[in-house]
């Protein structure tokens, strides 16, 4: 029995169509931007050949003509080889002459439609259309110069698909659960106010304050920011050592002169020390200023089903997200932040990669994770509970934390400790012979081995993971610690990897691909890794609609 909702196989003779002929003009600039290296190489090499074959006076027009010819040929071929076809369920795109590529993109997977129209496209009455999905290969969903008719047909397909999705809430596995929102409204007793109605303001639910930063939090956050404490003085020091640099002439020298002239009993070393302290204080002030500018007046609020945070004193920044689309939570703290017991919580979301066009064939994904700054771990746990209020099973406890395989230390000593040492020794012997290899070299080697061994043991001790029924929890990190919560339904694919060394020690590595990145469990016993692989694979096939 055929299901009309299932995607149809492409027809035996589908009506493939090309972009309109006038699209050749606007396609010139994207082609130039994408292939300028090849065009420059072709022009230069062709021009060099012509230079020998043609009279000198004709060289003035030969190069530009060759350039225009190359660009024209490539653009024409690009237009000719780009074809598309819209079936009932999907958009089929074919591109490429020498290397062909065919993409099938289901309308049900489309999360947004981006339409650009620059000046040149407007002249030709064309549009740059990009279909946004959660997929990583975003260049596949791009029609660079589509006519208004093509755009209208695309919109009709998407609207029809959206109507189908609203009547079948499980249709869009990655779309916001509007049916669930309606159920929540009914359960909470809030009136179901259709969007855009006149009573929308009266029906707005109360806002709950979740997290706020005061000036003391901002100060601690700025001062524990590693980059400002290290890079600031380093940069000042480097700049001040320049030969004829403005900072050295107008800042360093006058200050140095002031200290030397007014504090005559100070010697050169004290002056340099004072300059260093001044540099450090200056960078700390910069850090505090940056913290205030970026995170001043920060507050995180919850309003019904949305989380909203706002920050910034001079240039306010605001972000809103729906917790339903959470695909992972990561809480992390560096060494300095650990002194205050605070860290950052990153809430990774599905389908929030805004596509930004950089060239004709590439759309770069910009991840817009939701970051909550300066949070103690216990408060982060409470926020997690609210985040997963509609999916409490994700936070179910009962799973024991496990460690990595005991072979972790032996397996990592060879490549990370012994091999670099042996390579350095071999390199030294090749370049300088046995000269210089004495007590200092031996002490250096011992220091390397000692520090490395300590670091390896600390890493092994810090690694913990727990496999729960609906989520995976990780704890890791020596200097910069992090705790990750990954719902199994966010896992896109699972991989079990074994290098030669892993096979020797009978361990394996598990990698879980999530929308926000890759989570790896580095060194598990092989049997355990296989079981976890099978379990993760069986969990990854569960559709997202089954979360509720």
């Amino acid at each position: 029995m055929s299901d009309p909702a299932l995607p149809d196989a492409p027809a035996a003779d589908p009506q493939w169509q090309r972009l309109p002929l006038r699209a050749i003009g606007p396609l010139t600039w994207p082609v130039l931007r994408a292939h300028w290296r090849w065009i420059a190489f072709g022009t230069a090499s062709g021009g060099w050949q012509l230079k020998n074959a043609m009279p000198a006076e004709s060289g003035a027009w030969a190069l530009p003509l060759l350039f225009v010819l190359l660009v024209g040929i490539i653009t024409f071929l690009r237009w000719r080889n780009l074809r598309f076809y819209m079936s009932a369920q999907a958009l089929h795109i074919r591109r490429g002459g020498l290397s062909r590529q065919e993409t099938v993109l289901e309308f049900a997977r489309v999360q947004g439609l981006q339409v650009h129209q620059g000046v040149i496209l407007r002249l030709f009455r064309l549009f740059d259309v990009a279909l946004e999905t959660s997929g990583s290969e975003t260049d596949a969903a791009h029609l660079p110069a589509a006519s208004a008719e093509i755009l209208d047909r695309l919109r009709q397909h998407l609207r029809r698909d959206a109507r189908h999705a609203s009547s079948h809430p499980a249709a869009h596995s990655l779309a916001p659960d509007t049916a669930g929102l309606q159920r929540e409204l009914a359960r909470s007793g809030a009136p179901e106010t259709p969007p855009g109605s006149g009573n929308a303001a009266a029906a707005l639910p109360a806002t709950t304050e979740l997290h706020r930063l005061d000036w003391q939090d901002l100060l601690r956050m700025a001062l524990t920011s590693i980059q400002t404490l290290v890079i600031g003085p380093l940069l000042l020091g480097l700049l001040s050592r320049g030969q004829d640099h403005a900072i050295r002439d107008y800042l360093w020298l006058p200050l140095h002169g002031f200290f030397m002239s007014h504090l005559a009993n100070w010697n050169e070393e004290y002056t340099k020390l004072a300059m260093g302290v001044l540099g450090l204080a200056g960078s700390a002030l910069l850090a505090v200023g940056w913290g205030m500018w970026r995170y001043g007046n920060y507050h995180l609020q919850q309003q019904l089903h949305e989380w909203h945070h706002q920050s910034g004193l001079i240039t306010p920044y605001a972000q809103t997200m729906n917790p339903v689309r959470t695909c992972g939570v990561i809480w992390s703290q560096n060494l300095l932040q650990g002194m205050f017991g605070c860290g950052w919580m990153r809430i990774a979301m599905v389908g929030d990669s805004g596509a930004r066009r950089s060239s004709e064939d590439q759309l770069e994904g910009v991840s817009r994770a939701f970051r909550v700054p300066w949070l103690a771990y216990r408060k982060a746990l409470r926020l997690q509970q609210q985040l997963f209020a509609s999916q409490p099973f994700v936070l179910q406890k009962g799973a024991r934390y496990q460690t990595l395989a005991p072979q972790y230390l032996m397996r990592n000593r060879l490549p990370y400790l012994c091999l670099p040492l042996l390579l350095s020794l071999a390199g030294w012997l090749l370049l300088y012979g046995a000269e210089g290899l004495g007590l200092p070299a031996a002490m250096g080697a011992l220091l390397w081995l000692g520090l490395g061994e300590w670091l390896l043991r600390r890493r092994f001790a810090s690694w913990r993971f727990a496999v729960a029924a609906h989520s995976l929890r990780l704890q890791r990190g020596v200097f910069s610690r992090s705790r990750t919560l990954l719902p199994w339904t966010a896992v896109q694919s699972v991989a079990l990897k074994q290098s030669s060394l892993d096979r020797f020690f009978k361990v394996a590595r598990i990698e879980l691909a999530a929308p926000f990145g890759k989570i790896a469990l580095p060194c598990l016993p092989l049997a355990e890794a296989r079981v976890l692989f099978d379990y993760a694979a069986s969990q990854a096939i569960v559709p997202l609609a089954r979360r509720y």
Binding site: R100, E106, S134, E137, S493, V494, G517, R530, I541, P543
Partner: protein, 182 residues
């Protein structure tokens, strides 16, 4: 209603017991021919540079000598890697096995596939092969690539995967996951 039944590990489908399908033999020739063509270009560039600039090229003549075994190893490597490349299709996911020194077993759930791409390079067209890319919501490295499949098999697989990827949209949930995997 959401169920949360206990799932014994020994009842899980075992990936290691699957009958993996090898890639066609012509994929090996396609790979080797591709690498050979690249090395031929390098060789021509080297000969051309030697012909026009003999003095500097003579000083690095020994370097070219070392490139020969490297080229042979690179061209012959597909013979070894073909032996370890396998794939299998289950009802709800695709499994890939590949790698000689760094072996990988990857499972890609069909329901997580966002869209599917079919690539055919010029050499692949010569041998009737294609590369199927299953794009997910993960980052770029998370995409699943089945390289050098026969074209007909790749197209059949693409249609099947698209059908399976949209099963939740059809309102149907596979019966075997409704009981224990939730």
């Amino acid at each position: 209603m959401l169920k949360n039944d206990y799932l014994p590990f020994d009842q899980l489908p075992r990936a290691e017991t699957l009958p993996f399908e090898p890639y066609p033999l012509r994929s090996l020739f396609c790979d080797s021919l591709g690498k050979l063509s690249i090395w031929l270009v390098i060789l021509c560039a080297g000969i051309g540079a030697f012909a026009f600039r003999p003095a500097p090229m003579q000083s690095v003549g020994s370097l070219w000598f070392w490139l020969v075994p490297l080229a042979l190893a690179n061209i012959g490597w597909p013979l070894l890697s073909w032996h370890y490349r396998r794939y299998a299709l289950r009802q709800h996911d695709v499994l890939l096995q590949e790698g000689v020194l760094f072996r990988t077993l990857r499972a890609q759930a069909l329901v997580r596939v966002q869209h599917v791409q079919l690539h055919q390079g010029p050499l692949q067209r010569l041998f009737g092969l294609a590369t199927l890319v299953l794009c997910t919501a993960g980052k770029d490295a998370a995409d699943c690539k089945l390289r050098h499949l026969p074209l007909a098999r790749a197209e059949d697989l693409r249609n099947h995967i698209l059908r399976m990827a949209l099963q939740p949209a059809a309102g149907t949930v596979p019966a075997e996951v409704a009981t224990g995997a939730a």
